[in-house]
Symmetry: C2
Subunit: 120 residues, 2 copies
């Protein structure tokens, strides 16, 4: 019977963020119910779920996109969801390409190869 403070400690997400994500439909009902006093009671699986959410939000998904994917009420067909996921994988690959370029650029600065640094 986890309450919000427990989830916060286990995931590293502030309590305010947990409530905020819920308002944004990022926490499916299966993970959270209310007790007699209207306190949130979380299932154990919320921790793993939130770790996945953190990873996905950290670079590629916006809250709104992710909520479309996880919220059944928003009636996205599984075909649409599949397309969305495939699209996201492509976007991740683009970011990976960009990151390799940027990393190389920064390494060039370190060894004095970049004309960026010498000019500035």
């Amino acid at each position: 019977m986890m309450k919000i403070n427990d989830v916060s400690k286990l995931t590293g997400l502030p309590i305010s963020t947990l409530r905020f994500y819920e308002r944004k439909n990022l926490i499916p009902d299966v993970f959270v119910q209310r007790d007699a006093n209207n306190y949130r009671i979380y299932s154990e699986e919320i921790v793993e779920y939130l770790n996945d959410v953190k990873a996905l939000l950290s670079v590629e998904f916006s809250i709104e996109e992710l909520s479309l994917l996880v919220n059944p009420q928003l009636h996205l067909s599984s075909e649409e969801k599949k397309k969305m996921v495939e699209q996201k994988i492509k976007e991740i690959e683009d970011i990976q390409k960009q990151l390799r370029k940027s990393k190389k650029f920064l390494e060039d600065i370190l060894v004095g190869k970049a004309n960026f640094q010498t000019k500035c």
Copy 2:
């Protein structure tokens, strides 16, 4: 003798963004001067410079961080700049790790391996 509209077209950055970056000290003086009517006149190298800036801003650097790096007036010693660049390379490596995890996660969704999708 490039004016702001030329630079905008060559880089894909809106004119408003070019002016905004300049206000944020992201465009060293060597790349931009003013003509008799106070119009901005850019050097040819600005295009390559802005492409680098775009790559760096797109994922890892904030405008403020990058302006610290490129602006000589902000008197960061080259030792400090070196540390900052090394730090950024580490951050990029972390993002790369995170991205590989997220990508794998999304691929698992596609083949039905993720319990994320089935629950939601």
